[in-house]
């Protein structure tokens, strides 16, 4: 006990070394406990959310495959005269035909062929004229994608609705309050998540730096089916499919490939690649890699620092150690006393690191997953506590013990008589040889410098470790900071763009109003160079006619589709894509060149 006390007092007389070692452990344990708990919560959340809400495996829109007999039925049902029976698009547009009612046979085939349950999903977009707030409205039907009630209940009457909790928070709304939309008043019956939709507005163009959608002005709403039908506007239809068997991720992906290869679907989404699933798991995986990488680096740094500290202490205490051994203390007893330092800094660092980690993981979840609209049942994984204490303790103590035992192998007399102060290291001997003809002052100066070579090496090592940590910190902060944006966008944009609310699935003609499609802020066409050699330079008044957003050609979520339904993202690597309005306005053809200019640097 007394020799342990002696060793500890010896260690803590050099406070900087001890503090550095403790700080490293604190940082490592904090990082591990915080992020391991974040992963524990999110992994558990997504899994239980899927199970409890019976989340869809695939969302799809089938290709229109109607037989002549079915068309006859449609013409009869909608009283379409023979003269108007031209193209499907025109019929759909002119007579507001809902063709999905005529796809039942196909859906039955899908169910039996792929062993899945398929349900129809429809919703309407709603925009409040007074506030400009935007809503995607569902009714609660079916067994797939069951709404998740955070508070209150689902609506039971036509004048009730539910909203997203985030929207309620931003607008200071409570259950029982009234929400007015386009002159109609609705009572808020609850706060509810919709498993199929993370963002209320589908989402190609909504890019924000701090959020993936405008939680203060956009929400998902649940109403009764009657109330939804009474709303103006046409519903968007799609289908949600759920495999009847419990499938692994690999099996789900395989089934997705089969569905895709069948070419039966106009649109086909794999839920595993959806924002909720794909990005949650992607984030979990990224964090897992960061945990492993940084924990290893920090563990290595801790080991290095602590063994160096112990080594230096033992070097400095050689005479004391020799005396103890002369008195009859065994090497193991003395080594153990020096390991007490590792035990104390490890326990101290782990305790503080754990406390900080457990305090931080909830706010970090809020930051990292605030836009996921997914229930997060916050419960800590107490196994992380065990690892956070045991791993540093075992590593540091065992390495310290090995280091100490190696150094204490010498017999007591050698330790007592240690004359390391008067020894000259090999560098010093070499310098003496090289400088043997130099003046005394020069030789003395460089000899003294050589005596500090171990300190110089130690400082250099600490500098290298600190730089590595700093670098990792920067990488992490960049990775985590950009994660939300990259997660949801797949874009590479530098300005916010406005989503055009007025296009929908059955209205093929976009209504651009006063905004061009994909309007950005500061990037615009300055000059057009036609293939025939003519050039059109736009004056200031006409410049702000069209602006450009960037888009990742590898985007998993947003695809450029041509009129044949083919993905043409690859053209982005060869040039720019413009919309029909600009094409028409300037008579542009493929191959013309645009000179783009930005007001920003």
């Amino acid at each position: 006990m007394n020799i342990t006390k002696n060793a500890l007092r010896s260690f803590f007389s050099k406070k900087t070394q001890a503090i550095l070692a403790v700080l490293l452990i604190i940082f490592g344990v904090f990082f591990y406990t915080a992020f391991a708990n974040i992963n524990y919560v999110t992994d558990g959340a997504i899994t239980s959310y899927d199970a409890s809400q019976n989340t869809e495996d695939y969302g799809f829109i089938p290709r229109l495959k109607l037989t002549d007999e079915q068309w006859e039925v449609i013409f009869a049902d909608y009283n379409i005269p023979e003269s108007a029976q031209a193209g499907a698009d025109a019929i759909i547009q002119q007579y507001q035909v809902n063709l999905y009612d005529y796809q039942e046979d196909f859906i039955s085939q899908v169910e039996s062929k792929y062993d899945m349950t398929v349900e129809t999903s429809f919703n309407k977009m709603l925009s409040d004229e007074a506030t400009g707030h935007q809503y995607r409205v569902f009714s609660d039907t079916g067994s797939i994608n069951k709404p998740y009630i955070v508070e209150g209940s689902l609506p039971t009457t036509a004048n009730e609705l539910t909203i997203l909790p985030e929207y309620a928070k931003y607008n200071n709304l409570k259950v029982g309050d009234t929400l007015e939309i386009n002159g109609s008043e609705y009572t808020i019956s609850g706060f509810v998540y919709c498993p199929a939709y993370v963002t209320p507005i589908v989402t190609t163009n909504v890019v924000k730096e701090s959020s993936v959608y405008y939680a203060d002005t956009q929400s998902i709403i649940f109403m009764t089916e009657d109330a939804l039908n009474q709303l103006a506007g046409q519903a968007s239809y799609s289908y949600k499919g759920k495999a009847n068997q419990d499938l692994t991720s690999a099996e789900k992906n395989a089934l997705y490939n089969r569905l895709y290869d069948s070419n039966d679907f106009e649109v086909l989404d794999n839920a595993l690649d959806s924002i909720t699933h794909g990005e949650t798991y992607r984030k979990v995986n990224v964090i897992n890699i960061l945990i492993i990488a940084l924990s290893l680096v920090l563990c290595g740094a801790c080991l290095f620092v602590v063994t160096q500290v112990i080594k230096r202490r033992i070097e400095a205490d050689k005479r004391q150690i020799g005396t103890l051994k002369a008195l009859g203390y065994k090497s193991l007893e003395v080594a153990r006393s020096y390991c007490s330092f590792a035990v104390i800094i490890s326990v101290l660092g782990s305790t503080i690191g754990c406390i900080l980690g457990f305090l931080a993981y909830k706010p970090l979840i809020d930051i990292l997953y605030k836009d996921y609209n997914m229930p997060m049942n916050i419960s800590a994984d107490y196994m992380t506590l065990a690892y956070a204490f045991i791993v540093p303790l075992v590593f540091l103590v065992s390495m310290s013990l090995i280091t100490a035992l190696i150094m204490l192998k010498k017999p007591p007399l050698d330790l007592i008589r240690d004359n390391s102060d008067s020894k000259v290291n090999s560098l010093g001997r070499w310098v003496t040889r090289v400088l043997r003809k130099a003046s005394f002052e020069v030789r003395a100066k460089y000899q003294i410098a050589c005596r500090s070579v171990s300190k110089i090496v130690a400082m250099f090592s600490i500098g290298v470790v600190a730089s590595i940590l700093l670098l990792i910190g920067l990488v992490m902060s960049t990775a985590l900071g950009g994660m939300v944006d990259k997660t949801f966008t797949g874009f590479n944009v530098e300005s916010t763009v406005t989503f055009n609310m007025n296009s929908n699935i059955n209205n093929k003609q976009p209504q651009y109003e006063d905004e061009e499609i994909c309007l950005g802020k500061d990037l615009f066409i300055q000059e057009v160079r036609y293939q025939n050699g003519q050039t059109l330079t736009l004056d200031d008044a006409n410049r702000k006619i069209a602006e450009v957003i960037g888009m990742n050609p590898d985007s998993a979520y947003i695809s450029l589709i041509n009129e044949n339904g083919e993905t043409i993202n690859n053209v982005l690597t060869e040039g720019v894509v413009i919309n029909k309005v600009i094409e028409g306005k300037y008579g542009l053809q493929i191959g013309d060149r645009l000179l783009l200019n930005s007001t920003r640097q």
Binding site: N6, S10, A326
Partner: protein, 233 residues
């Protein structure tokens, strides 16, 4: 016979150069003896003390402890030998600087199955009012008294003192030597002192003079004087 050396030789090798520190030492030490060993620097007295104390091993010869040959002991066996039987007092005290007087003494006592009472020892060395002080707060004489207290706290059978007054003035030296004499008288602990100081020889039961790695002379004192009355050389 507590300790018996027969034909002890010690040769130090440094590269190809061999230096002979002991050239065949024969010596028997009885229990309860106070032996003072004199000799010039390089005569081999410290080497002899280190080998007797189990800090070093002889190159040749036999060393018997209570009739048992310990000359071929391993480092671990020597550690246990020192732990159970031997106390050391060093010229430079070698106290543990981060422990108080009491804790230093305890660090010796803890090694023994049959330690002496720590408070009594601290009283005996006259440091009861300084037992919570750290070594740097003590004078050289006081530090050496702590060193003696630590050495005897574990109740050793033999106490080896390597120049115990080498760093002290006359007054403090006499205090320290008086203590050693008192310990020898009261506890019957065998004490083996090596010194340059001829005056110290007068307090010993037996005086050994060493020269060139051999025992040059052994003298048994017929009249032993009190350490306080030593004629300081």
């Amino acid at each position: 016979m507590l300790l018996s050396a027969k034909g002890l030789k010690k040769i130090y090798k440094s590269g190809e150069v061999e230096t002979s520190a002991l050239n065949g030492v024969d010596l028997d030490i009885e229990e309860g003896e106070l032996i003072v060993t004199l000799g010039p620097s390089g005569s081999g007295k410290t080497t002899l003390l280190n080998i007797f104390g189990g800090l070093d091993t002889a190159t040749e010869g036999q060393l018997l402890w209570n009739g048992k040959d310990i000359s071929k002991y391993s480092q671990q066996e020597l550690t246990l030998f020192r732990r159970d039987n031997v106390g050391f007092v060093f010229q430079n005290y070698n106290l543990l600087p981060n422990l108080t007087v009491r804790e230093n003494v305890e660090s010796g006592a803890r090694l023994s199955k049959n330690p002496l009472d720590i408070n009594k020892i601290i009283n005996t060395v006259g440091l009861s009012d300084k037992k919570d002080k750290f070594p740097y707060q003590l004078s050289g004489g006081e530090q050496q008294r702590v060193s003696i207290a630590r050495a005897i706290a574990k109740n050793p059978k033999i106490l080896f003192c390597d120049e115990p007054t080498g760093a002290l003035d006359e007054k403090n030296s006499k205090i320290v030597l008086s203590m050693l004499q008192k310990i020898n008288n009261v506890t019957d602990t065998t004490i083996f002192i090596i010194t340059h100081n001829l005056g110290i020889a007068d307090m010993a039961h037996r005086v050994i003079r060493m020269n060139d790695g051999r025992i040059a002379e052994t003298k048994i004192n017929t009249s032993i004087i009190d350490a306080a009355e030593i004629r300081w050389a």
